[in-house]
Symmetry: C2
Subunit: 424 residues, 2 copies
Amino acid sequence: VIFLQLSKSKFIELKCIVCGKKYPENAHSLCEACGGILTGEYKLDYPIDLTRRESIWQFREYLPPVDEPNIISMGEGWTPLVKISNFAQKIALSNSFAAHNLLCKMEGQNPSGSFKDRAASLSVSLAKQWKKEGIFLASSGNAAAATASYCARGDVKCLVLLRDDSTYSKLSQIAMYGPNLVRVRGLFKDTASLVSALKATEESLPDWLNGFIWANYNPLLLDGLKTIAYEIVAVSSPNVPTHIFVPTAGGDLIYGLYKGFLELKTLGQINEIPKMIVVQGAHPGPTVDAVEERIENGQENDDTEPTIAGALRASMISDHAVAAVRKTMGFGVKVTNEEILEAHNLVAKVDGIFCEISSSTALAAIAKSVRNGRLNKDDIVCAIATGSGFKDYRPPFNEVSQIPLADSPDSIPHVLEHIFGASA
Amino acid sequence: VIFLQLSKSKFIELKCIVCGKKYPENAHSLCEACGGILTGEYKLDYPIDLTRRESIWQFREYLPPVDEPNIISMGEGWTPLVKISNFAQKIALSNSFAAHNLLCKMEGQNPSGSFKDRAASLSVSLAKQWKKEGIFLASSGNAAAATASYCARGDVKCLVLLRDDSTYSKLSQIAMYGPNLVRVRGLFKDTASLVSALKATEESLPDWLNGFIWANYNPLLLDGLKTIAYEIVAVSSPNVPTHIFVPTAGGDLIYGLYKGFLELKTLGQINEIPKMIVVQGAHPGPTVDAVEERIENGQENDDTEPTIAGALRASMISDHAVAAVRKTMGFGVKVTNEEILEAHNLVAKVDGIFCEISSSTALAAIAKSVRNGRLNKDDIVCAIATGSGFKDYRPPFNEVSQIPLADSPDSIPHVLEHIFGASA
């Protein structure tokens, strides 16, 4: 019912994006020679079929090789690409930027509520293909929910390492899928802690796949994420966006998008690769710092309160994100908590879009870029709304009792007169 | 970017489904002659285009007439139709039913998280087409979230009448979109209270549309819901389901599905209309009672605890739901709270599907129908998963502290040995 019979994967090999050294498909590391990330290379010999179908697996020629029975899919991908014209009008300055040219890719409408489903579908399918006993990863958020759900579906064991102070609300979804959970004190304190936690787990569970969704460990998962670029082109062509604003932590999403556009350009299906814009919170924002010559805004440097964009609290510089920005002549933007919440609330109220707070960073960054003159009226701008509003929303009021109450249906007119005035 | 230019609506008129009396497009009532519901009639002269595109509006020839600039869309529709083979295997009895023949239509992946988005997109578009000042409705759940979000996007005022004891969690999403909210004591106590509340509001706000999503008031919205049937056929053909299990309150969803299949049959695009199965909680379950000759299970009659399927707590018999079941020789199933939660937890753990508790009634009803011998191994069964798991999920554990804790990355092997045994 779900899959058409499609041709085989055109995968050739893994290759370092910096020095070009080649690796076999099952490499799970950075380049031994230069430390660059690896990424899958495919034979690009005829156009990618951009006809809309049911999941990312229609693109399987450009995904790593997985035999049909090992594909674990829930219809991930093909999320809506919607205009947010009202938001655009609110943030536009005179002569800045055309309201019909602002788009939002709604990744929260994936099966488990975020873009990570594209990577998790691939990761669990590869675990089956490679006959792994289970998958482990470290995450307290979207990657854990995505991986646990696909593991459940694929009957693959799953172990999630969590931060010790994980919040109840995020864990509730993750636990529904029945993975093994272990809290680790200091898990995300720094890169060294994370690396040693993953290493200790790998040694204990040698037949399991390290499914941490980060190209340093799992370069093939970039190919799951690049499908977002294919879909944006499928729906928007010939008016392909000129700028893509991407909330960034580990950097896989922005590099995956870049890779997808690059493949389409190589095949002649687009003329230009959009500029990739890396977006982070005010603190930490190391990848934006690396991209921009100066700290964007002096006062933000003093802001030591961690960003409310929980999914973006990553302290490492993401080299492949920097590469994606440099190669497309993009830029980087940091946004404060106040700017994030303002965008988050505004887009719900004027365009009916309810996305994760971490996703709203992209919208806040677009507003800021308009103010700073970095966007102009011919630009076609796309925000990647990475997750669903349900993932971490903040209740907009504290007490149900603040809402006006009619004591019975008969007293409704009186209450309405109070709200709408005498005309009601 | 989003819409292809398609031809005009083939709408002819509204017509009573019981006596056939005809009404103009703007009728908002039951049939004056016989009390039957009205439903839109379309000129069915050539096949419906089932090629996958971006929203329900590709079917606009078979939707009520709305001019292009008045269409308010967020890419609603085209939700995944996924196999739930592991769940099927768990509930199968020997010789009962083939695991590859159980499907789930994932309506929770709509923009605001439920199937109501299909109706709300239409309702808000019609409010603009008819130059209404705003929309009001009564709901404390999915219909309110859907209508408020499309109103925000369409810049149409929105008033939501809520039950006085609305829960904080459901209201949080609704309030994000900025509608006016009024609590009404006893709003859903009985049909008379609801009718008088809507009437009082209509008198206070005569230029607003009564957007209550129920065919008794808004028969045209059935045409938004029928698109689910189109999509099921588009993706499953030629193996179209033989049975559709539908969580039912007001009855619009099951009748809308029936209507969609009926149109496809009329046009020769399917050979048979699937049997429509009406699903309700143990209490209240008036529409199942009306459909079945006997109360399904004597002991359930004594169950006066209201169903945990919050979206299905409707005390009225839905005549059009009964008609959909009768015309397709379907049946009705009530499910207890225990059966609902069992199905809800099982499908998450074995198939990675996290749906609204009210949606899990359909899965529980399928399991029960297998046990009762009402399904056999050649049947192709589809459950409508009406909403997202985020809508009302119950945390699967009470305390984060119940999760095993490693004091540092170094102590992970010790913790894992405890969980997985010495092999780890």
